[in-house]
């Protein structure tokens, strides 16, 4: 109806096409659609995908372990238990690793399960579960710092470089190249040897110091590809401002890359910190970390006997599960952000139906033909 109506008559809105369509809607209808678009549909997409469900559940478990765990489970200390107990000692059923007790809850006595060294102990009598749990909060601080830092710097630099082109791109690309060129671990080894960082925030920053460049480069090349697409050219021809085009056309397309790169950076920090603790290059005297556990298990003959296998395997499992949770979660988010995948998995109501219909037959045709 209103192709002629000038965009400027909606000063609060930053978009081009969609502001026109929204003009006929009431306020509540608009809110409902926004909620549907930004909340209901993503949740539906996540819930429809088994991997994202697993990832979210695992991540929730780790968050629980990090925030509630240290309050519930005793702090590990040397000699708190017999040395080198196996996991579930005495057998899974009828063993001595659990005791039936009762606790007083608001004046009522309820039966309770008391755990004693559920996953066994190490050679100095520290509980394995206790160490794993108490290492989690530090790990979270570290990867959260790294994730924030990398995402903020990586996306802004990458998008700016790819979008503005010319001299800005040249300067930024040079900076990106140089930062990327610095080899990860050797630089970390040197920095760690010189700085000996103890605070998890500092450690997170140091370990992700150059991960942002990888993200910036990926984003830049994506933006370069997107910039030459017809819809961006159309938006440019309409005279939309650069920030508007970036926000409306470019960002949704690069979101999957942002998520994946952020998770990769976090994974890198987990691997690097555990690796450096494993090598014994970080100051670890009063720090609980999965890498420290690995290092102690490795250097105390855990490789040669089966008695200490749990000491080696439990921290390994923690590392693998946490990074798996992050990757699965990022993949779920990928489905939320990627318009092509999203269109197939969740039909949203109202306005976005228009987007859904043309996409659906196209992608389906592709996937069936691909099977031939």
């Amino acid at each position: 109806m209103s192709r002629e109506s000038p965009t400027r008559s909606f000063p609060g809105e930053r978009g081009g096409f969609d502001t026109v369509a929204d003009s006929s809607l009431t306020r509540s209808e608009r809110v409902r659609r926004l909620l549907d678009l930004w909340l209901a549909a993503p949740l539906r997409v996540v819930w429809n995908d088994a991997r994202a469900r697993i990832g979210a559940t695992l991540l929730f478990g780790f968050l629980l372990m990090g925030f509630v765990g240290p309050q519930v489970i005793a702090e590990p200390s040397i000699g708190q238990a017999p040395q080198l107990l196996g996991p579930f000692h005495g057998g899974i059923i009828g063993g001595s690793w659990y005791t039936l007790t009762s606790v007083d809850l608001f004046g009522v006595s309820v039966p309770w399960l008391g755990l004693e060294w559920l996953l066994g102990t190490d050679s100095t009598g520290r509980g394995i579960l206790e160490q794993v749990v108490h290492a989690t909060p530090r790990m979270f601080t570290m990867i959260a710092t790294a994730g924030l830092f990398v995402t903020a710097l990586g996306t802004s630099v990458g998008a700016l470089a790819g979008y503005s082109g010319g001299r800005v791109d040249q300067v930024l690309s040079t900076v990106i190249d140089i930062v990327m060129t610095l080899p990860g671990l050797p630089l970390l080894l040197i920095l760690v040897a010189l700085l000996e960082p103890k605070s998890p925030v500092v450690l997170g920053l140091v370990l992700s110091l150059q991960a942002w460049a990888g993200m910036a480069r990926a984003i830049r090349s994506q933006v370069l590809t997107i910039r030459s697409t017809s819809y961006v050219e159309a938006a440019q021809a309409m005279g939309l401002s650069t920030p508007t085009i970036v926000a409306k056309e470019v960002v949704p397309n690069i979101m999957p890359f942002v998520m994946i790169n952020m998770v990769n950076a976090m994974r890198g920090v987990i691997f690097a910190s555990v690796g450096l603790y494993f090598l014994g290059l970080l100051p670890f005297s009063e720090v609980v970390n999965w890498g420290v556990m690995l290092q102690l298990a490795y250097s105390n003959g855990g490789m040669l006997t089966l008695d200490a296998a749990h000491w080696l395997l439990v921290p390994m499992l923690a590392i693998v599960l946490l990074s798996m949770a992050l990757i699965l979660f990022a993949q779920g988010m990928d489905r939320v952000f990627n318009p092509r995948v999203r269109a197939r998995h969740a039909n949203t109501t109202g306005g976005s139906d228009d987007d859904t219909e043309p996409t659906e037959p196209k992608t389906r045709a592709v996937s069936t033909e691909g099977n031939l």
Binding site: Q170, D177, M180, L182, P186, L189, F271, K362
Partner: protein, 341 residues
């Protein structure tokens, strides 16, 4: 294109310059920097030496003459590196270039095989997964890929070493060749050369296995993502409408466009993996570049540490340089995008 070539070359030179300056900054200007630490070490170990003698030894070890003004120290340091002089290793008691020169071929050998295998397996698996998106095969391999990709290679390395090295005894647990094998590469002596190469591969196989197992999942997932994106493009529909054969579409349209973004990744992976080799080489006691860098950090052998850093960094600069020069050739989209700006 020529302009781009020149520009990129200048950029590579500039990068090298920045890297060398950075390493000088690390050596000289950081709190607790190697130069001061080394000086402290020398004074502690030989309290009778004169100030001048100490300075002379520091200069010998890391090319930094502490008595000269800072800018002269810097120029001397850069000139020294340009002449291939990386100083003298304290713990190995040999020139750094010699120590690293012996270690480098082993790292390059093992990790080149590993990375190539990793990419071949990952790309093939990823494209099949993309074509069968949503199938049981896709879900299964994605799950497997995620689990493997979530495992640091040193963890897999430790498990391999534990199972195949110590328990089953199938593979050697340390070193890069057996002591009785003569290292020889000579086309005139094919049998001896073959024996040597086979033995080297045998010794590196657990390490290669650990890299491939933990790496191919990531490559496959990236390839899958790229391919799915390409499969949704309009030009693919057009290609089908033109009646092009499936093989041609799969190879020329999907595979080419999906692999291109990973091309830079391949060359950079060499730098990244070799840089990250330190922990893995430590696990397998494989005397490569990373092994010596970790050993240097443990022994606070600053010359060797900085030398390893500079060597790896320059290798990656060259890798990135080649990647960028050739990327414009293989992917026309980038060069046109750059020109129209």
């Amino acid at each position: 294109m020529n302009g781009y070539f020149v520009k990129r070359t200048l950029q590579a030179v500039f990068t090298t310059f920045v890297v060398v300056s950075l390493s000088f900054g690390l050596v000289r200007l950081m709190p607790g920097n190697p130069a001061d630490q080394l000086r402290g070490q020398l004074i502690r170990n030989n309290p009778s030496l004169s100030q001048q003698e100490i300075n002379r030894r520091v200069a010998n070890y890391i090319n930094v003459d502490l008595s000269a003004p800072l800018h002269e120290q810097y120029i001397d340091y850069v000139l020294g590196i340009l002449q291939g002089d990386l100083g003298q290793s304290i713990s190995q008691n040999a020139p750094v270039t010699e120590v690293l020169g012996e270690a480098l071929p082993w790292t390059v050998f093992a990790f080149s095989i590993a990375i190539l295998l990793m990419f071949v397996v990952g790309i093939s698996l990823g494209s099949i997964m993309a074509y069968w998106e949503g199938s049981r095969f896709d879900v299964g391999s994605t799950g497997l890929g995620i689990v493997l990709n979530s495992t640091p290679n040193y963890v897999t390395g430790l498990l391999f070493l534990y199972v195949f090295g110590f328990i089953l005894g199938w593979f050697p647990t340390s070193g890069h060749i057996s002591s009785e094998v003569v290292p020889i590469v000579n086309p005139l002596k094919p049998v001896a050369t073959f024996q040597f190469v086979a033995d080297a591969v045998y010794h590196a196989s657990l390490l290669i296995g650990a890299v491939v197992i933990t790496g191919f999942g990531g490559v496959a997932l990236a390839m899958r993502g790229n391919s799915i994106q390409v499969l949704g493009e309009d030009y693919l529909r057009v290609a089908r409408l033109r009646g092009l054969s499936d093989t041609r579409i799969a190879l020329r349209y999907v595979a080419r466009n999906a692999i291109l973004p990973m091309y830079t990744g391949l060359l950079l992976a060499f730098g990244g993996v070799i840089g990250g080799s330190a922990i893995l080489e430590q696990v397998f006691t494989y005397p490569g570049l990373g092994y010596y860098i970790v050993a240097a950090v443990e022994a606070r052998d600053y010359p060797l540490m900085m030398g390893g850093f500079i060597l790896i960094t320059l290798a990656v600069v060259v890798g990135a340089f080649i990647a960028d020069l050739t990327y414009g050739l293989v992917d026309p989209r980038v060069s046109t995008g750059g020109d129209s700006a």
